[in-house]
């Protein structure tokens, strides 16, 4: 398993996809700072709220594209036959990609958190309250988990279409859904919009009216990857039995 993960990371080593993750981590903090350049008296809470909103919207595109590129490159570079010859259970290939995805999300979220805190401390006049700092860290952990739970859908789409572009389309659709439907009540039930809505609510902002009990949101987020992982496993089984 470790060897597979190492192979995945080595395959990504020369790829330009890391730049996308770097942009995804740095740009939200930068854009937020630019937005408040003329108004430095805002509170840390507002600053974090805007940074998290931008990050959650952009991350849909970034992580789904990353997941799709990770999955589809075997198809696009005609490497699947070679990979299927290796003596590893087929599910391990997907599992190793999921672990790499989790690592990528984790690194991006950590970088984003650092950039937000750094740009906030340079820009804002007020100092960061320790309780808000702890709350922010907790939210970042939840954000990582939520985005990770959304990634199997992008993996499945890329596996189904054999093209990375499907993940890009999925991400763009998610972005547009979040921004167009933010004033509606049922945005909270759309899996791709849950990180966008929930993070804001957990932070303490009440811009979007959502149910106070988060159980339904976490249930949707738990069912969503399970559904796609099951569909993916079925599809892989079909490919393998056809190849045999």
């Amino acid at each position: 398993m470790l060897r597979l993960m190492e192979a995945e990371i080595k395959k990504l080593h020369a790829s330009k996809m890391w730049w996308l993750l770097a942009a995804g981590a740095v740009l939200p903090a930068l854009i937020t700072s630019l937005s408040f350049l003329e108004d430095r008296n805002i509170s840390w809470l507002i600053f974090m709220h805007v940074a998290l909103l931008i990050f959650n919207v952009q991350s849909l595109l970034i992580f789904s594209s990353f997941a799709a590129f990770l999955r589809a490159r075997e198809y696009e570079e005609n490497m699947l036959e070679v990979i299927l010859c290796y003596p590893y259970p087929k599910r391990n290939f997907l599992f190793s990609k999921l672990v790499v995805m989790l690592l990528a999300i984790g690194i991006t979220v950590i970088l984003f958190g650092m950039c937000t805190l750094l740009s906030g401390s340079i820009l804002l006049k007020a100092s960061l309250p320790p309780s808000l700092f702890r709350h922010f860290i907790k939210i970042l952990l939840l954000v990582s988990l939520m985005h990770f739970l959304l990634s199997p859908a992008a993996f499945f789409l890329a596996g189904l279409t054999h093209m990375a572009v499907s993940g890009v389309i999925y991400g763009i659709a998610g972005m547009c859904l979040c921004m167009m439907l933010y004033s509606t009540d049922f945005i909270q039930f759309i899996p791709m919009c849950i990180p966008f809505v929930l993070t804001d609510h957990i932070l303490g902002m009440d811009v979007m009216k959502i149910l106070p009990d988060y159980g339904i949101h976490w249930s949707i987020l738990a069912v969503w990857p399970a559904l796609f992982l099951f569909a993916d496993a079925k599809k892989q089984e079909n490919i393998y039995s056809r190849n045999q």
Partner: protein, 237 residues
């Protein structure tokens, strides 16, 4: 030229673009209808005006994906040497791709705004002013997005891979939100079509903005990237 264009159309058969274009056509329609059905009572033209930024974003994404795919597929399937030995110059091949992309954009924009007008007619009855407004919006949108086609082609020709070129556009796409909503948003050429069409539709955030700077930036982008794309293609020749 006609034969080349015909060939480009034939190459589209069986590709994902045949799915992407209807999806791009349907998504704005569905999202606008959802907002109309669920939100507080607002007229459909108001909702369309409020959502015009996102409708344009979806169209921009479609043009980028189509453009990058149509250009880079020649590299991916190693077709460039075969195209080079035909009696047509590579610049002509490039122009055919431009025309194909422009036609796709034009049809798509007219279809989107036409469908939105049809829905509005069904819900609120026929309104001649709205018909003209949507028709002009569709044409403007197609023209403005068409100005970005050389830029998309140049980046695809430069990177030579769909992944490479789309990463650049993904980063640019990330700047859409929130720079689209800022007064200086049109310094990014890819945001100009979004801003100008939304302004024409009456989006209140852009009432202070003029058309001049945006059109100048688009014209400059079109001219500069057309030259760069032709130069890049001539080098390959």
């Amino acid at each position: 030229m006609y034969k080349l264009l015909n060939l480009e159309f034939r190459k589209l058969k069986g590709t994902f673009l045949l799915l992407l274009v209807p999806v791009t056509f349907l998504i704005p329609l569905i999202l606008v209808l959802i907002q109309h059905a669920s939100g507080p009572k607002a007229s459909l033209p108001d909702i369309i005006t409020k959502s015009s930024v996102f409708i344009q974003m979806i169209s921009f994404a479609c043009v980028v994906i189509s453009g990058c795919y149509i250009i880079t597929r020649e590299y991916k399937s190693n077709m460039l040497p075969y195209l080079a030995v035909t009696p047509n110059s590579m610049v002509r091949v490039l122009f055919c791709k431009f025309i194909l992309l422009f036609m796709e954009t034009f049809v798509l924009q007219l279809a989107i705004f036409g469908a939105l007008f049809c829905v509005n007619t069904v819900l609120d009855g026929f309104d001649g002013d709205i018909a003209v407004r949507f028709l002009v919006s569709g044409v403007l949108s197609a023209l403005f997005l068409g100005c970005l086609i050389p830029a998309i082609s140049f980046i695809a020709l430069w990177r030579q891979s769909f992944a490479g070129s789309s990463i650049i556009f993904l980063v640019l796409f990330m700047l859409t939100f929130p720079f689209t909503f800022m007064s200086y948003g049109y310094i990014f050429p890819h945001l100009v079509p979004i801003i100008l069409v939304s302004k024409y539709l009456g989006y209140e955030r852009y009432t202070q903005m003029g058309y001049g700077p945006g059109i100048l930036i688009l014209a400059g982008t079109f001219a500069a990237f057309s030259y760069l794309s032709v130069r890049c293609m001539k080098k390959k020749e």
